[in-house]
């Protein structure tokens, strides 16, 4: 590698680091003050690009190219900032007090809604924006050509860092932001108007995201995938840098930018893995990130419950038996596709139940539960496709592989709690996603694995239905049993009062680790069953939307119910199947539904039913 090329690649890295930093620092600032992990940050970024490709060409024509272009960029950033304010006032304000998981989910609801709105407003085709007037050419650096616009970007990152530093050091608003990041309750107690402060922070954060998106238009057409592509990277940057730390985000952006610029030369096919691997290494060494502050362990989980778990009354047991009998009769009455739906409902029911073991009983927030589902699915798929193993062997391997993976990851993160733990589970899931996506030789990458069909004896849909009923149903009831077993009591003790649990000799971290492993195994079994029900598997099963789906199912069912997630899975999956063919706006519906659920009944469907059916028994 000659020197000139080295310098050039370094500059490429700096330019992408700058873009990354501008995109990610808003996320970090918003988290620092509001403690909300704002998934919609990616949507702000995408909206910034869309507003810019709409405004800039028109302004360039009506005013003059230079003013028009930069005016368009700034206007786009301002509009997006105002949308941030709107979101704060309409949504975030109502959910500051709810558990983090609900906040994550609500902002993801916004992501879904914006995705559909963008298609409605701008259409589904990519829109290529104008290039920056005056920065269209290239400069010669050591006989190599380097675009002027990239040089501008290289400078823009540090400039914005400087501007934020001045804002935070020299203005009252900045001082308040820092104070609130440090200690929110104290700031409140001193009589600072929190509402105004939070609204201001959302404006700042959202307009930075909008600016970052708008600055992309000379390089990239505005398109409907900018949000998810960017949010994954922005999370990497904020988590590595330390959540809430702006200089940390800058350092992390530099690290990732350069890693990718040089990584492309050495590992041209594994650039995504590199970023997540870097994140994993940093987090294992410093869980709070490069410049972040260690998490304060809260006294108890936000999912602590005052509702004791009681044995089921006999009528409920009978009702369940009846329901199972009716369900088992399905193959006699319905067609083959409905049977497939029923199989999928059972798979997702098990998946949701496994997550609820963590959230409902353990009080452990997992935001990357798709990881274990996906590992199980891939383990089964790989065995079936590459080594033509018998299906039952592949199905047995699924929970084992997922359990081992979950145990490994769990060993690092079971000690943590709250939002840090959630971010780490997300990081683990993204790392596994990146591996599945880019290890093309083994996993088929984007193409996935095709041809994982059940063995001849289980090929009939009816047989596979009963197989799934036996395996998934058995696992669901095993998970239910855990809730009432001594181990369940240990988990609940750790959830409701970790300090007291430790005092009576319970090793809370160890219990959580075991729960993590069991949940991973159960999710893995669900994944394995899923693979053979579809005949193929691709990285989508490991992606963020899968994690969100299972969370929505669990929360819809109700986290403090024993079998609620089963209902949540059924309700959401059937709704999805019903709504998808008849509407083009499924994401709008799902996103709106998630937000409504978070706002209206966070206790879930079954939680709601229980409070109708057994009010006297359950209220302490």
């Amino acid at each position: 590698m000659d020197f000139a090329f080295f310098i050039l690649q370094f500059l490429n890295g700096l330019a992408s680091a700058s873009s990354l930093f501008i995109a990610a620092c808003g996320l970090s600032i918003i988290f620092g003050v509001t403690r909300i992990v704002n998934f919609a940050h990616g949507s702000f970024y995408m909206l910034g690009a869309y507003f810019a490709v709409t405004l800039a060409p028109r302004l360039m024509e009506s005013i003059n190219p230079f003013l028009g272009f930069w005016g368009g960029i700034l206007a786009a950033a301002m509009i997006v900032g105002l949308l941030g304010v709107l979101m704060e006032m309409l949504l975030l304000r109502r959910i500051y007090h709810v558990p983090e998981l609900f906040q994550l989910l609500a902002t993801f609801g916004v992501v879904l809604i914006v995705q559909d709105l963008v298609v409605l407003i701008w259409g589904p085709e990519d829109i290529l924006g104008p290039r920056a007037p005056g920065l269209k050419g290239a400069v010669n650096i050591l006989d190599q050509r380097f675009p002027e616009y990239e040089l501008f970007l290289v400078a823009a990152g540090p400039l914005i860092l400087g501007a934020i530093w001045l804002l935070f050091r020299k203005t009252r608003f900045g001082v308040l932001v820092r104070a609130a990041t440090e200690d929110r309750e104290m700031t409140d107690a001193l009589g600072i108007n929190q509402k105004l402060l939070f609204t201001g922070v959302l404006f700042l954060g959202a307009s930075l995201a909008g600016l970052a998106g708008a600055l992309q238009i000379p390089k990239e057409p505005a398109n409907g995938f900018m949000d998810i592509n960017m949010i994954a990277e922005a999370f990497v940057v904020t988590v590595i840098g330390g959540m809430g730390s702006v200089p940390g985000a800058f350092l992390a952006a530099l690290l990732i930018g350069e890693l990718q610029a040089f990584g492309i030369l050495l590992f041209a096919k594994s650039t995504l893995v590199l970023a997540f691997l870097a994140m994993a290494v940093v987090l294992i060494l410093r869980p709070q990130g490069l410049l972040g502050k260690p998490a304060v362990n809260t006294e108890h989980s936000e999912f602590a419950s005052s509702i004791p778990l009681r044995p089921w009354p006999r009528w409920l047991v009978l009702a369940w038996l009846g329901a199972i009998v009716v369900f088992a009769c399905l193959p006699f009455v319905v067609d083959s596709f409905t049977l497939k739906l029923a199989i999928e409902v059972m798979v997702f029911a098990l998946f949701a139940m496994s997550l609820n073991l963590l959230i409902g009983l353990g009080g452990v927030i997992s935001f990357g539960h798709a990881a274990w589902f996906g590992v199980g699915a891939y383990a089964a798929g790989l065995l079936a496709v590459h080594s033509h193993s018998p299906m039952l062997l592949a199905l047995a391997a699924a929970p084992l592989a997922a359990g081992v993976a979950a145990a490994l990851v769990g060993a690092f993160i079971a000690r943590l709690s709250g939002v840090y733990l959630a971010m780490l589970t997300l990081a683990a899931a993204q790392l596994i996603y990146a591996i599945a996506f880019q290890w093309t030789g083994l996993t088929g990458g984007d193409d996935g694995l095709v041809g994982a069909w059940p063995d001849a004896w289980a090929k009939s849909r009816v047989v596979y239905f009963y197989l799934t009923l036996a395996l998934a149903g058995g696992a669901v009831f095993a998970l239910r049993h855990i809730a009432y077993a001594p181990f369940g009591y240990v988990l609940r003790a750790g959830r409701d009062g970790p300090a007291r649990a430790e005092a009576i000799g319970i090793n809370v971290a160890a219990a959580r680790w075991v729960a993590f492993t069991i949940a991973g195994m159960a999710a893995g079994l669900a994944g394995g069953l899923y693979t053979f029900s579809k005949g193929s598997i691709d990285p989508t099963v490991l992606s963020i939307p899968t994690s969100v789906d299972v969370l929505a199912m669990t929360l819809l069912g109700g986290v403090h119910t024993v079998l609620g997630p089963v209902f949540g899975a059924a309700a959401l999956h059937l709704l999805q199947d019903f709504a998808m063919p008849i509407t083009d706006h499924w994401r709008l519906i799902l996103g709106g539904g998630i937000i409504a659920m978070v706002l209206a009944f966070p206790e879930g469907l079954v939680g709601k039913l229980r409070s109708w059916f057994m009010p006297a028994e359950e209220t302490p």
Binding site: E125, E220, A268, F613
Partner: protein, 411 residues
């Protein structure tokens, strides 16, 4: 309220709910018998959300053909009814959609798909379930070769055929040092593999000096361009399309990657990708594409005029493809004398059918149609990219040899 009442209410409630669900499901599953006057149900799936630039004109294309055929009395007296779905641009989603179309909507034939990995997944489903599938746009060779099966056919010229057309152009130029850039999935890998093989056949001392395989939709264009330039190639073989292509062309233009270099590029001359680039379309690239406003012949003129009249827009390559897909299905039903899957499969083997650009054949050996492509150079006129010096390369002259098909395709 007494506990007894509430329990009984609960049990009754749960039982009656389950019973109601069963009743509804059972009612939904009743199938009526098929009579001659019933419409021919055609299931269609494609990436309407993700690759709208190609698939929306494609939808117009098949819609036009369906309307024309139905207005003329249908096929064997039966109307065509297309049930269209988005395939999510993901293999797993697409298989689910295919199954829904086949087992719930009871379609007689499936067609469509855009991405090669999606097409491969649906073709696997088709083979497993003995459903007929006509792949429209997926270009990976595997669909008709290594993973070929009795129930899958493909319309567009595959990566081997299109790459062969391009390499033929490069042969006379004698360019020896090549760089490859391709999206890292079935289509890109298949095209790159073919290029390596074909360029060595054409120019024995050619060498590949750099290869870049960015993930589909996630290219880091600046770093990719400078990594390619670093290897100082004399020619570049490009397989990128859509948003990735736009980013690559911009960075490449500014950084001078394409200056004094021969660029061979798959699909870039298709109006759907060219229009996005506007006046930045890369002049001088040798591409496969569709010079829609210059193509001659009465059949094409009639098609283009009807399309303009109906949609007030010029056709894209997708429009032509969608139109041709329906024409091939019509011909297959006519030849098979009905919609029985096995008979349709047999009818499709060696089927000859008329299209706006002349007669085509669905080759029996490998289930690949003889549709060709236009080869030409990109130029910019009136602020828009166009193809110049173009010629139509008939697909039948570029297909895999019969021996290779025998060797590669599972029997």
């Amino acid at each position: 309220m007494s506990k007894f009442l509430s329990r009984r209410r609960a049990i009754l409630g749960i039982f009656s709910m389950s019973a109601a669900v069963c009743a509804v499901l059972a009612g939904g599953s009743m199938i009526s018998s098929v009579s001659a006057a019933d419409p021919i149900k055609i299931g269609e799936l494609n990436s309407y959300g993700r690759f709208a630039a190609f698939t929306q004109p494609y939808r117009n294309g098949w819609q036009l053909a369906v309307d024309e055929i139905n207005a003329a009395g249908g096929v064997n007296g039966r109307m065509l009814e297309v049930i269209s779905r988005d395939d999510g641009a993901k293999p797993g989603d697409a298989v689910r959609v295919a199954e829904e179309l086949v087992s719930r909507e009871k379609v007689d034939v499936l067609f469509g798909t855009f991405l090669s990995n999606v097409g491969l997944a649906v073709s696997d489903y088709a083979a497993q379930n003995k459903a007929l599938f006509l792949a429209a746009e997926p270009l990976s060779d595997a669909i008709t070769m290594a993973k070929g099966n009795r129930y899958t056919f493909r319309m567009r010229p595959n990566t081997y055929m299109q790459t062969k057309m391009l390499v033929e152009q490069a042969k006379t130029l004698g360019v020896k040092r090549w760089a490859i850039v391709a999206p890292n999935y079935a289509y890109g890998q298949s095209a790159a593999e073919n290029f390596k093989r074909l360029i060595k056949e054409a120019i024995p001392d050619a060498e590949i000096v750099a290869e870049q395989y960015p993930a589909l939709g996630k290219i880091d264009a600046g770093a990719t361009v400078s990594a390619l330039a670093q290897a100082k190639p004399d020619g570049v073989f490009n397989v990128l399309f859509g948003g990735d292509l736009a980013k690559f062309v911009r960075e490449g233009n500014v950084r001078g990657l394409f200056e004094k270099r021969t660029v061979l590029s798959l699909l870039t001359g298709e109006p759907e990708w060219l229009s996005l680039l506007k006046d930045e379309a890369p002049k001088g690239w040798i591409v496969t594409g569709y010079p829609v406003n210059q193509v001659e012949g009465d059949g094409h003129k009639m098609f283009a005029d009807a399309y303009k009249a109906k949609f007030n827009d010029t056709p894209r390559l997708g429009s032509l493809l969608g139109y041709v897909m329906i024409q091939s299905i019509k011909a297959a039903v006519e030849k098979a004398g009905g919609t029985d899957t096995e008979k349709m499969v047999d009818a499709l083997k060696g089927l000859e059918f008329d299209t706006p650009i002349g007669m085509m054949t669905m080759r029996g050996d490998d289930h690949q149609a003889t549709m060709g492509a236009w080869i030409g150079k990109i130029d910019v006129k009136d602020g828009k990219g166009v193809m110049t010096d173009w010629a139509y390369a008939d697909g039948k002259d570029y297909m895999f040899s019969a021996e290779e098909v025998m060797k590669t395709r599972p029997q």
